[in-house]
Amino acid sequence: MRGLWTVTKRELRGYLTSPVAYVLVAVFLMVSGYFFYNLLWWFHTQSMAQSQNPYYVQQLNINRFVYEPFLQNVSVILLLIFPLLTMRLWAEEKRGKTDELLLTSPVSTASLVGGKFLGAIFILLTLILFLQVFTLFGFLYSRPEPVPLLLGYGGLFCMGLAFIAIGLFTSTLTENQMVAASLSFGILLLLWVLSWGAEGASPFLRELLTYLSFFEHYKDMPRGIFNIIDPVYYLSVTLFFLCLGRRVIESRRWR
């Protein structure tokens, strides 16, 4: 894996010196902040209104009514912004002809793809880190359960890996960043809504569609339920698209 870290460092610099990453992080925080505010406001009014009803008060749970829907919402926002964060990964190199430098260096294609992947993971971690402002807020004024939160953010990370891998793959297909973003957006949306067609399908197909659907695997984790199958699903999607992207880059030599 020689050259991996070199590529990663350059990738980070690419993110830090382009306005796109800053704008997207800002937009992400703005929108997720708005979601959080709304959920918290609803929770607050409910607690006030029902404070006389002891049964109902017992049911009020900040994890269930604030953080679980919040994490679900955040995962959708991630789906919307990750195509824009990953579209440049390889398309920009092709457009700027810098892929000729990378591909004529004694660095394996796997290291090039890996380096770019790690660079994008840094952005994902930054986003998740910023989200901790909202977690901190919960811990300051209430007592949320930490385990569902941990699993929720962990799941978000796994899902983000898959988003990045898909975006990286579509970026290798073209030198036009908009095309790359549109393609990965299409794939992500399709994987999201796949389970919606499961209703009328045959039992086998229903199970398959549900299994392949992106958000089916993010139902349990924010609730504090850990199924090994969920991270396995995200990691296998990630690996699949990373390998595909690597093959596309290598195939360029033969086309």
Binding site: G3, V7, K9, L102, L103, T104
Partner: protein
């Protein structure tokens, strides 16, 4: 050092669009260590494609390339370590400074630690970039960008440098500078540079390969090429009085005669016998020789012939 054998490249899809199959085929030439080698041909001759195959950016469809004994396809990493490559468009990152960029290029090629700093410094010194080490590449002029491209190619001290049209698009003063720079690299590196300008080859290179429409027309040292393509053996003669072409054609050993200016261009089938026969004939007929010189093609003529032959075939 670099051994290209029977190299071909087919662009299946492209050919389907154009209706012609394009290939760099078959090209064979060898380059000795420590020389500057020109790769000469008009635009679209297949120079870039051949260079890309040598650097391993694209794979050959047929044939093989060996650099320092390593095969480009099966031992690509060993080859890539030994090559510094300046593509047609310098592969620069606009948002990096010159120093950062060269450091990145060096570490991609496995240069580490203390060595890295000194190599970057060396490359900047050789290419005259010391003054702009902290400037963003975005803000550099075309000439400086080209220099950064060359610096990037030699930053890891590779034995082989491959430069694709290093002087294209530069102003005359910059062209002279870059040529000086390339000449100064001779001896330390084997340099292959491609160009469509003949004078660049005669000024900078020790040898050349002439390529057109994907086929090799000539290769060797400059003298070898000139010598090799000077035939068919012939003489230019002027005499008083000048014989008519028909008269000379009757002389044994002479295969062709045509008027050229104030004299005649005589071609021989068998050079030695023909010259002897012509000499004897001139003496017998009492023609006073005013000029007598062998005809050799200059490199320029070889080049032009390579171009026109291909055009002739097409028509």
């Amino acid at each position: 050092m670099i051994d290209v054998q029977n190299l071909s490249r087919f662009y299946g899809e492209k050919a389907a669009v154009k209706g012609v199959s394009f290939s760099v085929a078959p090209v064979s030439f060898s380059v000795a260590p420590g020389v500057v080698w020109g790769f000469l041909g008009p635009n679209g001759a297949g120079k870039t494609t051949t260079m890309r195959m040598i650097t391993g950016y694209i794979a050959p469809s047929e044939g093989s390339v060996r650099v320092a004994g390593f095969d480009v396809v099966s031992q690509s990493e060993s080859v890539k370590e030994r090559i510094g490559y300046l593509p047609e468009t310098p592969p620069l990152y606009d948002e990096m400074t010159v120093g950062e960029y060269l450091g990145f290029a060096a570490s991609l090629r496995g240069v580490k630690g203390k060595n890295l700093k000194s190599r970057v410094g060396y490359a900047m010194e050789r290419t005259g970039l010391k003054g702009v080490a902290g400037s963003l590449i975005r803000n550099l002029s075309k000439g400086y960008r080209q220099r950064v491209g060359i610096a990037q190619a030699l930053v890891h001290n590779p034995p082989v440098l491959i430069l694709d049209e290093p002087t294209v698009g530069l102003d005359p003063a910059q062209i002279v500078e870059i040529r000086e720079l390339i000449r100064s690299l001779k001896g330390e590196h084997t340099v292959i540079l491609s160009t469509h300008i003949l004078s660049e080859v005669t000024q900078v290179c020790d040898g050349a390969a002439i390529i057109n429409e994907g086929t090799l027309y000539a290769s060797g040292t400059l003298e070898e090429i000139e010598k090799c393509f000077s035939g068919p053996p012939g003489l230019y003669i002027e005499s008083d009085p000048l014989p008519s072409p028909a008269e000379l054609m009757r002389v044994e050993g002479i295969s062709g005669v045509r008027r050229e200016g104030a004299g005649l261009h005589v071609a021989f089938g068998d050079e030695e016998a023909g010259i002897k026969a012509l000499n004897l004939w001139m003496r017998r007929e009492e023609r006073l020789l005013k000029e007598w010189r062998p005809i050799r093609l200059t490199l320029e003529e070889v080049y032009l012939r390579a171009l026109s032959r291909e055009r002739g075939v097409k028509e």
